[in-house]
């Protein structure tokens, strides 16, 4: 019986070997499904200047694919989305380099983003609206490799507060996700606001009220990991005045204004949380985690971001692209 099994196995193995060897003689076509013979940047293309700039500044430096020509298969097909405007994509690309990549490069060194930075940035012109709850998606980090930025067609280079809110805060937020998906943050962060998260109705919460509960934004109050990413992003990108405002809100009690359903005024009963202390404690954890896990000085990062976001010259940045000879 044992011998029969052995023979049968041998037969099958031999047969399989013959089968595989005969199949392997059918050499696979050496032609890649991708066009590898093409030059890295097509000089005849209408987008040569931008493609050339992206190749030099993103592909060669960070091995990053900056996808400004939207591919809907690269986005959630359940949403109605549109591509980014070409000129807006150029603006966002040069600003992202100046306000994000070059910041990390200067503070931590170029290898940091080479190792941990996204491999793909995908631009999408419109927001991804969640009609059911009136919210919109501004950014997505997928698998620690890809960051999708939405609402690019609304980019206004003359309004750095909106630039921060919709793009660069989003980039820091999504990058924080990439980082904590790589090295987890301390569990104690998740314990600081237990019981105060509201996963389904966070969008209905007031920014002052959530600050008093220890959150840097309503979205931060949705769940712990978003709280972590929002703490990182808000601390880095909010101006001194904006950050002071959050801490001020956090140190007060808030109550609904009489006969109003959404306007809050100072006063009322305490929510039992020292919001300012909680936020500062969260920042402290973030600061230590950046230092211990990544060797990054969070305050230096914030300092450089704060300086750059109020000192950029968009014409000069654009010129890096548009001055490239065709």
């Amino acid at each position: 019986m044992t011998m029969n099994k052995y023979i049968l196995s041998l037969v099958l193995l031999l047969g399989a070997a013959i089968g595989f060897s005969s199949c392997s003689s059918d050499e696979p076509n050496s032609t890649s499904i991708f066009n590898t013979t093409e030059a890295a940047v097509d000089t005849a293309s209408a987008t040569y200047q931008f493609d050339s700039w992206l190749y030099t500044n993103y592909v060669q430096v960070y091995n990053l694919d900056f996808r400004y020509k939207m591919q809907d298969v690269g986005a959630d097909m359940d949403y109605n989305l549109v591509p980014a405007e070409y000129s807006k994509a150029v603006d966002l690309a040069v600003l992202a380099k100046y306000l994000w990549f070059d910041v990390y490069k200067g503070v931590v060194g170029i290898d940091f983003l080479k190792s941990y930075g996204p491999r793909i940035i995908h631009l999408i012109g419109s927001p991804a609206y969640n009609a059911a709850n009136g919210t919109m998606i501004l950014g997505l980090a997928e698998g620690g490799l890809k960051v999708s930025l939405f609402r690019v067609n609304y980019l206004d280079v003359n309004d750095f507060l909106s630039l921060n809110e919709y793009y660069f805060k989003t980039m820091h937020h999504e990058f924080a996700h990439i980082l904590h998906q790589t090295k987890t943050y301390p569990k104690e962060f998740n314990l600081l606001s237990v019981g105060n998260y509201e996963p389904f109705k966070w969008q209905e919460r007031d920014e002052k009220v959530v600050a008093s509960l220890g959150f840097t934004s309503p979205y931060a109050s949705s769940e712990t990991r978003e709280d972590f990413a929002e703490t990182v992003a808000n601390y880095i990108t909010k101006t001194d005045a904006q950050w002071a405002q959050i801490l001020d809100w956090a140190s007060k009690n808030w109550t609904l204004k009489e006969s109003s359903t959404n306007v809050y005024v100072e006063g009322g009963e305490s929510d039992g949380v020292d919001g300012k202390a909680v936020i500062l404690q969260k920042v402290s954890i973030v600061r230590q985690w950046f230092k211990d896990s990544w060797g990054v000085d969070l305050d230096s990062l914030r300092s450089v971001v704060q300086y750059r976001q109020s000192h950029f010259n968009i014409d000069s940045l654009r010129n890096e692209v548009y001055s490239i000879k065709k």
Binding site: V11, A44, S45, T47, N80, L81, A89, Y129, A131
Partner: protein, 428 residues
């Protein structure tokens, strides 16, 4: 021995199976591998789209719940595409914008307009329209599977929403302004916003009354049907040779199917799907008695006895009232519930009530019993020419005719008693 025999059988069988399975892979059904064939197709499609010197006209539907829109497109080998539009969103003036396109091997060969174009992507952007919530917008595609492409036409299918779109080459030397103007002319010849209804006359003998044709989002009510419960809708687009629905219209009972119509020399739209169905105006006499329409007699078109009769009214009014006579209209008066000849003399408006009889197709006759509103009666008394005109008007029946069978905004009345007596009326 048995084991050896079995082994031989096993070896033989497995070997045969192995060779058999490999044989299928060795056969070359195609001369290129799949990726190479895709790349060849994409390259060919790009050659087709970049060839016409004046570009292409794209007949685009975002959905079947909204009219279609024409885009003129000039594709460049460098990956840019210049797009022109002329619609309500461009204040009906031609606007152009250049953006990017690409052929990609995705869900089959796909033509994607992959950078935002304000003229084109407004039909795909999820921003709210018509008071609806953000998230949907017009809901149109901007990526299209290439179904087939030749020098004569390109057929695309929206990748996400799925509607079929067509591109046709713009005749060489035709400017885009001229092309849009030609479409406007065709549109005006077919669908007058002044005429409320058309008829769809199907190959199997059914008739549907069409409403809102000038909006290109048509409503249909079956002959004798209930407008509240039996109205159906279909989106369409004016094409270079007529009109096309977004998808085949099949009425209430799907006993017919019509989609593409070509305009004939008399204006009739003939369905090229079945070669029989038509879209026409209703019978002329029914238009003349449509209660929402006013038909104004055009003085420069009078013939025979109507020349003197009308001019005498004008002169008589001037003599009696020192006024300048302005116009006469045949219409229905909702207040008195009478058909009437309404006239405007200087600042005075008068009404002379008339009876109307129609034949059911193209005949009409009038009666007059010296009745009217106060102004009408005063004019009838003080200007004798009014009585003469009304007598002439009611002296015979008329045969109605129009140049266009689909947009008869001007109708000729020819006296059945004397064909040299005639006049034209224009719908207001």
């Amino acid at each position: 021995m048995n084991k050896k025999f079995l082994s031989v059988i096993f070896f033989g069988a497995v070997l045969a199976m192995s060779l058999g399975s490999c044989k299928n892979e060795i056969d070359d059904v195609f001369d290129q591998d799949a990726a190479a064939r895709m790349n060849t197709a994409l390259s060919t499609y790009k050659d087709v789209l970049t060839a016409p010197s004046s570009g292409w006209a794209m007949e685009y539907f975002a959905t079947d719940a909204e009219q279609g829109y024409t885009f003129l497109m000039k594709f460049d080998k460098n990956g840019s595409v210049n797009i022109a539009a002329k619609n309500t969103y461009t204040s009906n003036k031609m606007a152009q914008e250049t953006s990017l396109y690409q052929f990609i091997g995705d869900d089959g060969p796909v033509l994607t307009f992959n950078s935002y174009n304000n003229l084109f992507h407004r039909f795909s952007t999820p921003e709210a329209i018509d008071g609806k919530s953000n998230g949907v917008g017009h809901g149109g595609d901007y990526e299209f599977i290439v179904m087939n492409a030749s020098a004569d036409s390109v057929k695309l299918q929206g990748k996400k929403v799925g509607y079929t779109q067509y591109l046709y080459p713009i005749p060489s030397g035709t400017s885009w302004e001229d092309y849009f103007n030609q479409l406007d002319t065709i549109d005006a010849k077919m669908f007058s916003p002044k005429l409320p209804t058309l008829w769809l006359n199907t190959a199997n003998g059914k008739r549907y009354t069409i409403g809102n044709a000038s909006t290109h989002y048509l409503s249909f009510v079956p002959d004798g049907g209930d407008a509240i419960s039996q109205t159906t809708y279909a989106a369409g687009i004016v094409t270079h040779d007529g009109f096309r629905f977004c998808k085949p219209y099949q009425g209430l009972d799907s006993t017919f199917k019509v989609q593409k119509f070509v305009q004939q020399t008399d204006g009739t739209l003939l369905c090229t799907d079945d070669g029989k169905s038509t879209i026409t105006a209703p019978y002329l006499d029914s238009l003349l008695v449509t209660k929402t329409l006013a038909w104004q007699i055009e003085p420069s078109t009078l013939g025979g006895d109507f020349v003197k009769a009308y001019n005498d009214v004008v002169t008589g009014c001037n003599t009696s009232f020192k006024t300048v006579f302005q116009y006469m209209q045949l219409r229905y008066d909702g207040a008195s519930k009478n058909y009437e000849l309404l006239f405007k003399n200087g600042k005075y408006t008068g009404k002379l009530y008339i009876g109307v009889t129609t034949s059911g197709t193209d005949k009409v006759s009038y009666t007059f019993a010296d009745d009217g509103d106060n102004n009408g009666k005063v004019h009838l008394t003080r200007v004798a020419a009014f009585k003469t005109f009304m007598t002439l008007l009611t002296s015979s029946g008329y045969t109605l005719s129009a140049t266009s069978t689909i947009a008869p905004t001007r109708v000729k009345f020819t006296s059945d008693a004397n064909s040299s007596n005639y006049f034209y009326v224009d719908v207001q």
